[in-house]
Amino acid sequence: MTALLTVSQLNKSYGGVRATDDLNLEVMTGELHAVIGPNGAGKTTLISQLSGNVFPDSGTISFDGIDITHMVEHARPHLGIARTYQITSLINSMSVIENLQLAIQAKQGHSFKFWKPYADNKDVRTAAHEYAARVDLGSRAEMQVANLSHGEQRRLEVAMALASDARLLLLDEPLAGLGPEEASDMISLLETLKGQQTIVLIEHDMDAVFTLADRISVMVYGHIIATGDPYHIRQNQDVQHAYLGED
Amino acid sequence: MDYTLFVIQLLNGLQLGILLFLVASGLTLVFGILDFVNLAHGSVYMLGAFICASLTFALGNFVYALLISLPIVAVIGYGFERLIARPLYERDHLDHVLGTFGAILVIDTLAHMIWGPAGIAIPLPAALDGQTQLAPDIIVPTFRLAIITAGLIAAAGLYWLVNHTRTGMLIRAGASNRTMVTALGVDIQALFSFVFAIGAALAGLAGMLIAPITEASLGMGNNIIITAFVVIIVGGIGSMKGAFLAALLIGMIDTLGRAFLDDIFKLFMSSSAAENSAPAISSMSIYLIMASILFFRPQGLFPPKLR
C-alpha cells in the first residue's frame, strides 16, 4: 500500500494557541482513516489545512506525490480532494439536484458558458439524480435545500463530496447532530464507500469510528499521539489517558 | 520647489487630514461597534456647518456659536440613532446603506429648505482672522492653526475617552463582544446612542471648523463622506489608530498632490503635458493609493484585532 496523503511536521498557530503542533499523518490509498480526539484538539483546523482553506505556518502536505502545501483551495478539488463540513454548508437557495449539478460541473472544465441553458445539460442532470438516489434523496431531488431535514442535509453534504468524484474524501463529522436512526443510515452509507475511496473521517461517535475505520489516529492538542488499527488504539494507554484522564 | 510653499502645503495637508479624521473616527467607531454603515454621517458634517453659521450670525461670535453647536449636533446624532439606525441594526448592510441614503436625501432637502441653495460664509472673530508668523519666511492664517489645534484636542479627547475611561472600556468591549457587555448588565442601547452622539459631534465639529474657509454648503457632506470611506478602508475598518494615520496620509497626499504634482511631472514631461495631466492624476491620487493598498492588503493597513 502506498500513501495517498502525507502530512509532515505541520504547524499552525492562532495567537498563542497551537492548533496544529508538529503533526505527522499518513493516509494510505483506499483506507478509511479516522481522526479522533477530544474537543478542541484541532481536528477541523487539520481538515481546513488539507482542503486549503487555511494555510499552515510550516510543514508540508503532499497528495499523491504532489506538494500541495501552498496550493490554493479551489485548485485542490481538481487534483481529487473533496471535503464536507461539520456545520452543514450547502447552497440553501437551490434544490438538491442543482447543488449536485454544481458539484459535478466543478470538475468538468470551466463554467464560462454564458449561453446554453444549464437545464439542457442532460448528462449532468442524470448524474446528479444518481448521486441523490445514492444517499436516499431521490424523492427530495427537486426540493430546496433549506427545506430539507437536518439528516437529509447531512447526507447531501456527503453526496456533494461524492459527486466531485474525488480520490480523497475529507469528512468532517458527518454524524454531527444526527438522531440514532439517521446516524445508522449515515454509517451504512459510509460503509458502502469503504474501500471505494480513500477517506479521512473526523468523528466523535466512537461506535461509528470503531466500526468503520481501518486505522485511527488520535489527536490531542494539535498533535497525533497514536496511530493504529482499532484494536490497538483501544488498548493504547496514552489514548486512554487522553480520553479518560490520569486515573 | 519653494520651501515656504512646501511648509504651508504641509500644514494644509495636516489640516485636511485632521478634519478627515474627525469625520472618519465617528464612522469607524459606529461601524466597529455597531456593525452599522452610516452613509448619512456626512450630512451631520454639513449640518454642523450650517447650524454653526446660523448661530454665528445670531450670537455675533464664531467661537460661542461653535461651542453651542456641538451639543446640538450630538443631540441630532442621538436622535438619528434612535429613529433611523436602531431599527436597522439587525438588518444587513444593504438595508443600512439604503436607509441612510434615504436619510441623506431627507436631511439635505431639509437643509436646502431651511438655509436655501446658496452657501453661507462664516465671518471669523478678529483674533482668529489674522496671520501668524511661524518662522522668518513662513506666515500662515491663524485660523488654520486653530483648526489643527482644535482637531488635535478633539482627537486626544477621543483617545482619552476610548482608552482611559469606563465608558471607553465598555465601548471597546462592545466592539469585540456585544453579548458579553450585555451580560454584564450594561445598557447597551444607551451606549450605542452615546457612541452615535460622539461620532456626530466629531463630524459636526469638522464641518464647523471648515465652514469659515469654504462656506457651509449643501453638497459638502456628500463629498467628504466618500473620502472618509477611503480613510477607513485604508486604515482598516473599525481601527481608530488606522483611521488617524490613514486620515493624515490621505490628507497629505491629496493636498500635496494638488499643489506639487504638476511641478513633479514637469521634471520628466513637457510643461503643457504636465499641466494637463497633473490635475487629473492628483484628483485620482487618493483612490489610486487606496486601490494599491487594498490590492496587497485587502484588510487595510491597520486592521483591528480579530474578534
Binding site: 482542503s51 482553506n53 483551495e73 479551489h74 478539488p77 481538481h78 473533496a82 463540513y85 454548508s89 450547502l90 447552497i91 440553501n92 437557495s93 437551490m94 434544490s95 442543482e98 449539478q101 454544481l102 466543478a106 463554467s111 464560462f112 458558458k113 454564458f114 449561453w115 446554453k116 441553458p117 444549464y118 437545464a119 430546496q144 433549506a146 456533494m160 466531485s164 | 454603515v37 431599527p87 436597522l88 438588518r91 444587513d92 444593504l94 438595508d95 446603506v97 439604503l98 436607509g99 441614503f101 434615504g102 436619510a103 436625501l105 431627507v106 432637502t109 431639509l110 456628500n222 466618500i226 470611506f229 478602508i233 490635475p279 484628483s283 483612490y287 486601490a291 487594498l294 490590492f295 485587502p298
Partner: protein
C-alpha cells in the same frame, strides 16, 4: 405561467407602444420620459446581474454611465473642435465600441481590487472608484470640467437617425428588450448557475473547485459594460454630459430601482425604473423639494417592508 407570460408581454408592449402613441397624439414629453426610462432600465438590468444574481452590492455603477456617455461625447468633441485625431469621430460603431471597451476595462481593473473584499468594504470601494471617475472628469478642463460637455452631434449609424426622437426612443426600447433577454439567458446558463451558487455560498463553491473570483470578475465586467452601453445611449439622449451623471446619488438611484423592482428577476429592474421615473416625475411636479418625500419613502420601505428590502430578494434558486 401562461398568465405571467401574458402580463410580461403586455408590459413590454406597453413600454414600446404607449410612448409612441402619446407622441403621435401630440405629447412628445412622454416620449422623452420613456426614452430616459429605457436607458435607466438598461443600466438597472446591468446592475442587477451582479447585485441580484451575484449578490455583489455595487454603489458605484453610475461611473459606467458616465464613462459610456463621455465615450460618445469626447470623440464627438474632438471631431468638432480638433485634437486627438485617433478617436475624433461621430461614427456610432466606434463611439459605442469605445464605450463598451472603456467600461469593460474600468470594470476589470477596479474589479481586481474590489472583488478581493466583501460586504461593506465592497460597497464603499465601489463608491470610491465611482467618485474617482467623478473627480477625474471634473479635473479635465478640456471636456468642460464641472460644467460638463455639450455634444453638438449625435452618434451616426447607417439606416437610423439618432436626432429623430422617435427613432432614438425605439432604439433604446429595443436595446432594453435585448439586454433583458441577454441577462435572462446568462442567468439561466451554466455561468449563471455558478454565479447563483457563489451568491448562495461562496465558501462551498471554492471548496468544490470553483475559482469564484474569476466568475465574479466576469460578471462584474459584463455588468459594467451593459451600464457603459446605457451611458452611451444616455449621452446621445441628453446631448449634454456632466460629472453630475456620476454623482453617487445616481448610483444610489440605480440600486433603488433594482431593489425596489425585485432583484434577480428579469422584469424587476424595468419595473423599478418605471416606479422611479413615475415617482420622480410626480413628486417633482408637486414640489422642487421632491427628494424629501422620496427619501422618506425610501426609509419607509426599508423600515417597514418586513425584513427590509432584502427580504424582497427572492432566493437565487427561485424560478420566476
Amino acid at each position: 405561467m401562461q398568465k405571467k407570460v401574458f402580463v410580461q408581454g403586455l408590459i413590454l408592449a406597453a413600454v414600446l407602444i404607449v410612448p409612441l402613441l402619446l407622441n403621435y397624439m401630440g405629447h412628445p414629453f412622454y416620449l422623452d420620459l420613456a426614452t430616459r426610462l429605457c436607458i435607466l432600465a438598461i443600466a438597472a438590468v446591468g446592475l442587477n446581474l451582479i447585485l441580484g444574481y451575484g449578490g455583489m452590492i455595487s454603489f458605484g455603477h453610475a461611473a459606467y454611465l458616465g464613462l459610456g456617455a463621455y465615450a460618445v461625447g469626447i470623440p464627438a468633441h474632438h471631431w468638432l473642435y480638433g485634437g486627438m485625431d485617433a478617436i475624433a469621430t461621430t461614427n456610432g460603431f466606434v463611439q459605442f465600441g469605445l464605450a463598451l471597451l472603456v467600461s469593460g476595462i474600468f470594470a476589470l481593473l477596479t474589479g481586481l481590487v474590489c472583488l478581493k473584499v466583501k460586504g461593506v468594504y465592497f460597497i464603499m470601494i465601489t463608491m470610491a472608484f465611482a467618485q474617482m471617475v467623478y473627480y477625474l472628469f471634473i479635473s479635465i478642463a478640456e471636456y468642460g470640467g464641472d460644467d460638463g460637455l455639450v455634444i453638438d452631434t449625435r452618434s451616426e449609424f447607417p439606416l437610423v437617425n439618432f436626432d429623430d426622437a422617435t427613432q432614438l426612443f425605439t432604439i433604446c426600447a429595443v436595446s432594453l428588450f435585448f439586454v433583458m433577454w441577454l441577462v435572462w439567458r446568462i442567468s439561466k446558463s451554466q455561468f449563471g448557475m455558478v454565479l447563483a451558487g457563489i451568491k448562495g455560498n461562496e465558501q462551498r463553491m471554492i471548496a468544490m473547485g470553483y475559482n469564484t473570483f474569476a466568475y465574479k470578475l466576469a460578471a462584474y465586467v459584463i455588468s459594467g459594460m451593459i451600464c457603459g452601453f446605457s451611458g452611451a445611449l444616455l449621452g446621445n439622449f441628453t446631448t449634454f454630459i456632466s460629472p453630475e451623471m456620476i454623482d453617487w446619488a445616481r448610483s444610489g438611484e440605480l440600486m433603488f430601482m433594482v431593489i425596489l423592482g425585485g432583484v434577480a428577476t428579469t422584469f424587476g429592474p424595468l419595473l423599478g425604473a418605471i416606479t422611479f421615473i413615475i415617482l420622480e416625475e410626480v413628486l417633482s411636479t408637486i414640489t422642487i423639494y421632491w427628494h424629501l418625500p422620496f427619501g422618506l419613502l425610501l426609509i419607509g420601505v426599508v423600515m417597514f417592508v418586513k425584513g427590509g428590502l432584502s427580504a424582497l430578494i427572492p432566493k437565487a434558486g427561485d424560478k420566476e
